[in-house]
Amino acid sequence: MKLLEYQVKNLFRRYGIPVPVGKVASSAREVKNIAEEIGKPVVIKAQIPVIGRGEKGGIRVARSAVEAETISSEMMAGRIDGFPVHKVQVDEALAIQDEYFVVLTIDRATRYPALILYTDAQKRIEAAANAIDEKDISVSIDPLIGLQRYQIRNLARQAGFPPALLSVFTNICLQMWSLFTQVDARYVALSPLVITEHQRVIALDGKIALDRCALFRQSFIADHANYILVSENELEAFKQGFVYLDFGNEKSIACLANGAGLTLATMDYVVEAGGTVSDLVDVGARTLTDHSNRALTILLRDEKIQAVVVNIYGCMTSCGEIAKRLLSAWEEADRRVPVFVNFDGYGKMEANSLLQNSGIIVCSSLEDAVNSAVAQTKEMTG
């Protein structure tokens, strides 16, 4: 769950990581006031979950408070990559001498945290956070010991970070570590950390991705879900405790399966058979509560969905139980689209006979279910 810039900057401020003088605003009038307060040129940045928003008109400079008002009112009237701009961050514009990208993440290769520093502005933070490049300068951190000063020194030396600013840099990195561990972040990035003409060291922007698994001890994560989850469907599934992705494609097929891998494989199958997938639901294979009925209810009322493929491998929750739940959702639904089901594993026979003549279509194989669904949508579109 990636936070928006202004949320990141709030956390940075709380942890003593220096950020530009600035504030978040919800109206052009507020922007004007903030720009007046800052009293010099400002940068106005759209608060949207879009990578590379700068290239899409989401970051603009204003030389005066009046210009700031105009620019922000334009920005907030439009959409970027489909996202409405409800908020903008207004920051002092700074004259930059050097820039560095600093990422604290957990390295999937070692399974330990790593602090990474690089200077290539073209590289995506997300790429750095997910796989350490051999060209990156990085230090591996013992998760039981935590980041130590000597490691930061080694990193800074290798990167040629100005020795005169080492102690400022060290404190920033130690604060990043506190933030990283205390909020259960998947990564924290300073993107970039700049050295200004006046030798101030400032995180011009930052990125934080939170770990959804830590929700049980980080209740504030739930507050951020509204901003992060794109659709109503996703938000409802999040609250109920199952996994739902909505890609927003029209005239599409939804895939419902148990287990992440099986769900992904089902999606691949549909797309490669010529279908469009918009909604992906994993009801889980070893969950205490099976959510198949709730999931199907959400799918059936979504107007953009024209068919559903259900692919279940029965294990602790048997196919039979899932069939019952699907049936109850089906019977309660106001809107119905064809649902093609493939069962395997425990309870397959029982499930198939339960759904016979129910309106839900039981298929003999996943291939059969997928091909039927694709044919169905083709028919409706065609």
């Binding site: 999937r108 796989a131 998760p143 259960d184 698994c213 287990g259 992440a260 294990c315 602790m316």
Partner: protein, 292 residues
């Protein structure tokens, strides 16, 4: 036969009184595994599975009565999993710990991996379906009838998908030596590369199927290992080819972020290393049989 487990091994189940814990403990027991004891902090002194398996409030007490236990399988819910895994590591008796629990915070998993690394204990998971040597031994949550014994080793990042793959192989008459489910979360105690090495060293395994997925670079790292240091042929399949960039799939390690984790890229790397990949699972039996 085959790797890591056998039917003689004494096993402890942590979290045995939870719904999943008891359900799968029973399946393993019925399969013929020696489930000697369960652990549940709140059910000390009780018995589960029709009075066949005693429950203790800690691993320590369970090991006092059953000092021969060499493996633990953990079903403890995610908020308590860190404690349970530290407890398993601290016991010092286990050569193998499998964690079935999914959704453990990534910082906890990192710490636990560090602890098991330091102790030299084989840790599989989290979010792992366990290990299954068809016809021989089962430490995990596999449906026992989804596979038949044979000489194909399977390494998988996902649970139900691997059952479906095993069943596909079974339906084609292809038997399996061992299936290792390394777990679908972002971090794994036993990596793809580790699991491939284990199977490569196993005399009962003649071919290997790798079931990977979108996200991470684990498989790419493993590809060069397959090429340069393994003698057993490998066929790879990756789920999530059609998964869009920039999205995260639930709690799993499945996401393409910054271009990392793309299935097409994984396939390219494998092909460059001379490892065969299949785009469709239904092609798997045919490609496997072409090695002989």
């Amino acid at each position: 036969m085959s790797i890591l487990i056998n039917r003689e091994m004494d096993i402890i189940v942590q979290g045995i009184t939870g719904r999943a814990g008891e359900y799968y403990a029973r399946l393993m027991y019925e399969f013929g595994m020696n489930i000697v004891a369960g652990v549940s902090p709140t059910a000390d002194g009780t018995w589960v599975m029709d009075g066949k398996v005693p429950v203790f409030d800690s691993v320590e007490t369970a090991l006092e009565i059953f000092p021969t236990a060499k493996a633990s399988i953990v079903f403890v819910p995610a908020p308590q999993a860190l404690d349970a895994l530290y407890e398993a590591a601290d016991a010092g008796s286990f050569s193998l710990v499998v964690c079935v629990t999914k959704g453990i915070p990534i910082h906890d998993v990192s710490k636990v991996c560090r602890t098991f690394d330091a102790r030299g204990t084989r840790f599989i998971g989290p979010n792992s379906p366990g290990i299954f040597n068809p016809g021989s031994a089962l430490l995990g949550v596999y449906p026992a009838d989804c596979a038949i014994p044979g000489d194909v080793g399977v390494v998988s990042r996902s649970g139900t998908l691997s059952y479906a793959v095993l069943e596909t192989l079974k339906n084609a008459g292809i038997g399996v030596s061992s299936c290792i489910g390394i777990g679908g979360d972002t971090l794994q105690g036993t990596t793809v590369a580790d699991a491939l090495s284990l199977l490569d060293a196993d005399v009962y395994t003649k071919k290997i199927v790798l079931i990977g997925g979108v996200g991470g670079q684990e498989e790419e790292r493993a590809a060069s290992q397959v090429m340069f240091s393994m003698s057993t042929p490998v066929v790879a399949y990756f789920a999530g080819r059609q998964f869009p960039k920039g999205r995260t799939f639930g709690l799993s390690g499945a996401f393409i972020d910054g271009g990392i984790g793309d299935v097409a890229r994984k396939e390219t790397v494998f092909q460059q290393m001379g490892v065969r990949t299949v785009r469709q699972l239904r092609d798997l039996p045919r490609v496997l049989e072409s090695y002989s």
